[in-house]
Amino acid sequence: EPEVTQTPSHQVTQMGQEVILRCVPISNHLYFYWYRQILGQKVEFLVSFYNNEISEKSEIFDDQFSVERPDGSNFTLKIRSTKLEDSAMYFCASSEGARGLSGNYGYTFGSGTRLTVV
């Protein structure tokens, strides 16, 4: 079964440093997402990406965050200057599209990257 792959699985970084979280979505999916889950809290939507541009973003996704699809396979989330409160599990997801080729919304999540800011 196709998977969404995220690397690294765990990253520790110092406050103020830049981090890049990497994701390889499912190859025929068109929509890409980042979500995060702070320990003990709910999963929160950060951003969605379609046709090489951001299609929707939450208020969490401020100027410190950016996303990129640098090539045909990777989808990255960059945090420019990390803060302690950025410590969370970051999930990448992809879906076929707004309606999907099969008429359904086929979301698939990656295993997550645990980001620890110290």
Binding site: Y33, V43, S48, F91, G97, Y107
Partner: protein, 114 residues
């Protein structure tokens, strides 16, 4: 704005007990509804989803959920839980108008005692 409420923060059951986890959402239009499970140390996995049609949806591992439009609810059920069902369960909703982002509930932690 859309929101999802999960009533129980932590549910503790013995094996073979029946399970029902509550989920209510607020959104006036057409919705797509999901239940995800997160086993310890693992990623989110889709249990089941509702788009349209039969409001009683059957998912993997013996789970089912019923969409009750009048109550804005999508409760998850399983007649007999197993120790391996110990996990966190998340209800999520997507409104028909948005690009595709999901709104998650806070999650319910299920602990099943052997």
């Amino acid at each position: 704005a859309q929101s999802v409420s999960q009533h129980n923060h932590h549910v503790i059951l013995s094996e073979a007990a029946s399970l029902e986890l509550g989920c209510n959402y607020s959104y006036g239009g057409t919705v797509n509804l999901f239940w995800y499970v997160q086993y310890p140390g693992q990623h989110l996995q889709l249990l089941l989803k509702y788009f349209s049609g039969d409001p009683l949806v059957k998912g993997i591992k013996g789970f089912e959920a019923e969409f009750i439009k009048s109550k804005f609810s999508f409760n998850l059920r399983k007649p007999s839980v197993q120790w391996s069902d110990t996990a966190e369960y998340f209800c999520a909703v997507k409104g028909g108008g948005s690009q595709g982002n999901l709104i998650f509930g806070k999650g319910t932690k299920l602990s099943v005692k052997p």
